[in-house]
């Protein structure tokens, strides 16, 4: 995995105990406001990560110039790289900030770390962005299994271990947004009216495959493929393959996109014949 090798090479430098690390943070008071930069010196301890440093700043909101400021606003939840909340740009790389360990990315006294919000989503404030468009995309492709209801109606369809393994990895997508940040085809779109026609993104394409592969889920396959055939669908993918490189869960996104592409082609041909 690329990120672990990156971690290894970075950790060749031995971390200096109790050092101060300088955080340069891109700040913004709210949507439509201009951004500014602020810097903070943060004392570290072994095991510190970006989140623990942001927590320290929240308790001590004073910049390197000694100016009192407000605590930095950011989004986080589980801090175990499972919930998908704390994605941001750490030193220019999109990643989960909870697993960004200071000993690896800034081992020396006075080392600097730059934090920026993701650029493909509207900024709420500081490092917190609004990723509602991701969830809207899941609704767009009907990313669910159309069960009859939640009452006791027996078990679901059988599934082979291979099929389970394929679906399981797709199902670990935590809607974090890394794939979209890295994608040259996916652009910031603040107007929700335009979301249904702008590029849907790798995460939703992969979820489409997940549900098309489920025995009951595939009942909606036609609906999903209709969406992927339309504007902002699978043909908008430029095949840059950036998405798969940054996915923290190592989901085979490009395989999913290829599978969707084939399904859409078949769907187009059969639709044409049915006409």
């Amino acid at each position: 995995m690329s990120s672990s090798t990156a971690t290894k090479s970075q950790s060749d430098r031995q971390p200096v105990a109790g050092r101060l690390v300088r955080f340069n943070i891109k700040r913004c008071e709210g949507p439509g406001k201009t951004s500014r930069w602020e810097s903070f010196n943060v004392p570290t301890e072994p095991g510190s990560n970006v989140i623990s440093c942001l927590q320290w700043i929240a308790a001590h909101p004073t910049t390197v110039e000694g100016k009192k400021t407000t605590p930095v606003v950011w989004d986080s939840g589980c801090l175990e790289e499972v919930c998908g909340s704390c994605t941001m740009l750490v030193n220019g790389q999109v990643r989960q900030s909870c697993s960004a360990l200071i000993d690896n990315i800034a081992p020396g006294e006075g080392d600097e770390i730059t934090l920026e919000p993701m650029s493909k989503f509207p900024v709420m404030r500081d490092l917190w962005v609004d990723r509602q468009r991701m969830f809207q995309a899941l609704e767009r492709v009907k990313a669910w299994v159309p069960i009859d209801g939640s009452y006791n109606l027996g078990s679901g369809p059988k599934e082979s271990p291979d099929q389970q393994a394929t679906r399981y990895v797709l199902s670990t997508c935590m809607s974090c947004g890394c794939c979209l940040e890295a994608c040259p085809q996916y652009n910031l779109e603040e107007d929700p009216e335009k979301w249904p026609t702008s590029f849907i993104g790798a995460h939703a394409l992969s979820q489409t495959r997940l549900f098309n592969e489920h025995e009951t889920g595939k009942r909606l396959k036609k609906d999903r493929l209709d969406v992927l055939m339309g504007p902002g669908g699978v043909s908008d993918c430029g095949n840059a393959q950036n998405c798969v490189k940054v996915c923290p869960k190592e989901i085979p996104l490009t395989e999913s996109i290829a599978a969707d592409g084939r399904a859409v082609t078949m769907h187009a041909i059969t639709s044409w014949f049915r006409r």
Binding site: N49, I147, L153, E159
Partner: protein, 679 residues
């Protein structure tokens, strides 16, 4: 005609989403509130699995009834038995449903759902989806919720924070004339505070791990919502019961759970025998290492039961100050094992440790410490008993015995009864970890996911019936006077304004810094109210908490923003956590016995005579000028199985503990546990 009354669900984890799906399916619109997008709720963190008897286990002699018995025994008899019986009986249906929703459960060759052995059962009864079962279950329910959202029956209020329940009338016990008719909530982006009407309100806001500082919980698990309901008159049950897992990675920000299988695979726990020895572990020779578990428990060594391991590690670090580098951590050492073997057997653990501790445990001993993991206590709830009520309780249920009762719904808890999991405030429900039911004095591994979804589905039906046939049908909340809602909003607005007003003015100091007050609260609560408790220390803690509350009354915020003010949200939660903390400490002090996760060195034995009872705390909000917690006890329903001693604290002195499954089916003691018995 479709009922137009709306139900409010607060919290979008497993319990909240399961409730939402069940209520929306009945045609009742649901307003779903969550501080985070529901897909990011803390339920995603659960790893191990979800318990349910299945056909294979059944044909080997296991039964739903034995699952029930194990749960009651695991919880040291402090759970009402009817609801637990119902949950165990209902469990297979939960799995079936999740399966139909598309959860990628691990499969056998034939395509059946695979099972793993979990804590102390001869029978495989734990269903799992890779190592992220909680994530997979949450996503399945999230998807179904989105489906209802697309159809217009569910309206999500994500990034909204619950502030207070709106109550019409006076709260007084379970039959008072007060009832919950809505909530006040705040949009965490626009900071707008407003009230919402609801025919019923389901609280599904999870545990309160952050009261204890660093825990394995998500950083949203403050218990703030539960505390606000408690302050508004809802009772709180068994607050003192908090489960601490022996091995977690202490982090600068939180603790991350480490599977017990590391010890099972030969991990040795040690600290340097010289206090304050700051050499690297590899430089400390064998003779200068203190393998305290092996020394104190020669028979079992590092394989002592989980609660003993927790207590000993705590003792060595907190009481003796012998932790690594003077900190609260000990080494869990696997470096004597073949690295390839470790990768093969413990790959998952190796990876998480490497990722978050930044060191390779194949070559450097892991540094671990016990961490607060699960709140058994929570909002007190009631239920209507089912049809099964034997004249005398049974003894332990043994494998292969015919279960004394069938698994028809309604045996343990009446099906569809509106009282099920309703708090003492009519119309206000508590589902999942935020209620006190099912787990008793300590949680059986892989039962948490089950209890949450069970509440949502089974008791969700009760909410539907309450709305369509109960009080709200007779007295629609639409007709409640608007002034009640306006006043509730004004009160919350005033509280927020008071906090925001502190930003300007005198110089801020550590003394009045809400973040530091919160940190100190976590430290004192972790030290005194978790693993080992004594009257002396609890009394001191109460003094400390009083001091912290006084400081909080003078708290000064550092952000006055009228947009996404996280500082306000956190500080407000600190005030509410302090009240919860005080109640937890008081409950701990008054329970003069040891039971399950509650261990008092001054009262080391379980005392059924005095304390086979639910602790019920209620809050007097200071109508008479003084706020106080009133703590009483209510009988536990024990009519189905008879309490038997759960003496795992003594096994190392007495007869050797029987290995594995025959050890009374207790997951906390079973030493053949191949999987982490925690979720």
């Amino acid at each position: 005609m479709q009922n137009q009354q709306r139900v409010i669900v607060v919290g979008g984890g497993l319990a909240g989403l399961a409730a939402t799906v069940r209520i929306a399916e009945a045609g009742i619109p649901v307003d779903l509130f969550s501080m985070v997008p529901v897909k990011r709720s803390h339920s995603v963190c659960a790893q191990g699995g979800i318990n349910a008897c299945n056909e294979v286990a059944r044909q080997q002699g296991y039964s739903e009834y034995q699952h029930f018995d194990e749960t009651i025994y695991g919880g040291d008899y402090l759970a009402d038995q009817g609801p637990v019986l119902e949950m165990a009986n209902f469990a297979p249906k939960v799995i079936d449903l999740l399966d139909r929703m598309g959860v990628p459960f691990n499969r056998t060759n034939e395509g059946q759902r695979d099972l793993r052995l979990f804590g102390g059962s001869l029978f495989k009864r734990t269903h799992f989806a890779g190592a992220t079962t909680g994530q997979q279950l949450l996503y399945a329910l999230d998807e179904q919720t989105r489906r209802y959202e697309a159809s217009g029956l569910v309206k999500k209020y994500e990034f909204w924070e619950f502030l207070w329940p709106v109550i019409e009338g006076e709260v007084s016990g379970t039959e008072g004339d007060g009832r919950c008719v809505g909530i006040v909530a705040q949009d965490m982006r626009t900071m707008q505070t407003r009230a919402f009407r609801g025919a019923s309100v389901v609280m599904a806001t999870g545990g309160c791990g952050l009261v204890f500082g660093k825990s394995t919980n998500s950083i949203i698990c403050t218990g703030g919502a539960a505390s606000r309901c408690y302050q508004a008159g809802a009772w709180y049950g068994n607050g003192e019961m908090i489960q601490v897992h022996p091995t977690a990675i202490p982090g600068a920000d939180k603790c991350r759970l480490m599977s017990e299988s590391a010890r099972g695979e030969g991990g040795r726990v040690w600290v340097p025998s010289k206090k304050g020895d700051d050499r690297k572990p590899a430089d400390i020779p064998e003779s200068e290492r203190w393998y305290f578990l092996e020394e104190r428990y020669p028979k079992y060594g590092n394989l002592v039961p989980r609660d003993i391991a927790t207590r000993e590690i705590f003792d060595v670090c907190v009481n003796d100050g012998m932790g690594v580098a003077g900190q609260n951590q000990v080494y869990l050492d696997l470096t004597h094992k073949d690295p390839d073997y470790l990768t093969r057997k413990l790959g998952g653990i190796m990876e998480i440790y490497e990722k978050f501790a930044g060191e390779d445990p194949r070559f450097t001993p892991m540094r671990i410490f016990p961490a607060v993991h699960y709140s058994m206590g929570g909002m007190w709830t009631q239920y209507t008993p089912g049809s099964y009520s034997p004249e005398t309780p049974h003894r332990e249920h043994k494998p292969g015995m015919v279960a004394p009762v069938d698994t028809e719904p309604g045996r343990g808890m009446a099906l569809g009864d509106p009282k099920n999991m309703m708090t003492n405030i009519p119309g206000l429900y508590a589902f999942g970890e935020v209620n006190f039911a099912y787990h008793g004095a300590t949680r059986l591994g892989a039962n948490a996911l089950l209890s949450c979804i069970f509440d949502g589905l089974y008791c969700g039906q009760g909410v539907v019936n309450h709305v369509t046939q109960g009080d709200p049908a007779d007295r629609p909340v639409e007709k409640v006077d608007q002034s009640i809602y306006d006043q509730a909003v004004e009160r919350e607005q005033a509280k927020a304004d008071r906090l925001l007003d502190t930003v300007e003015g005198a110089e801020a100091s550590d003394d009045t810094n809400p973040y530091l007050i919160g940190k100190e609260m976590g430290e004192v609560m972790e030290a005194s109210c978790t693993v080992v408790k004594t009257a002396e220390r609890l009394n001191k803690t109460l003094d400390t908490l009083a001091g912290l509350r006084e400081r909080f009354s003078r708290a000064r915020l550092s952000d006055a923003a009228a947009w996404t003010n996280q500082s306000l949200s956190y500080s407000r939660a600190v005030g509410d956590m302090l009240i919860l903390a005080e109640m937890i400490a008081k409950c701990s002090l008054l329970r003069e016995e040891s039971r399950g996760s509650h261990y008092r060195t001054d009262f080391p034995d379980r005392d059924d005579e005095r304390f086979l009872k639910t602790t019920v705390a209620s809050f007097d909000g200071g109508a008479h000028g003084v706020e106080q917690h009133e703590i009483g006890y209510r009988d536990v329903q024990t009519m189905l199985v008879k309490p038997r001693p759960r003496t795992y604290g003594k096994v190392e002195e007495d007869a050797p503990e029987k290995k594995g499954p025959t050890a009374s089916g207790d997951p906390a003691t079973a030493r053949t546990d191949p999987e982490p018995a925690s979720t």
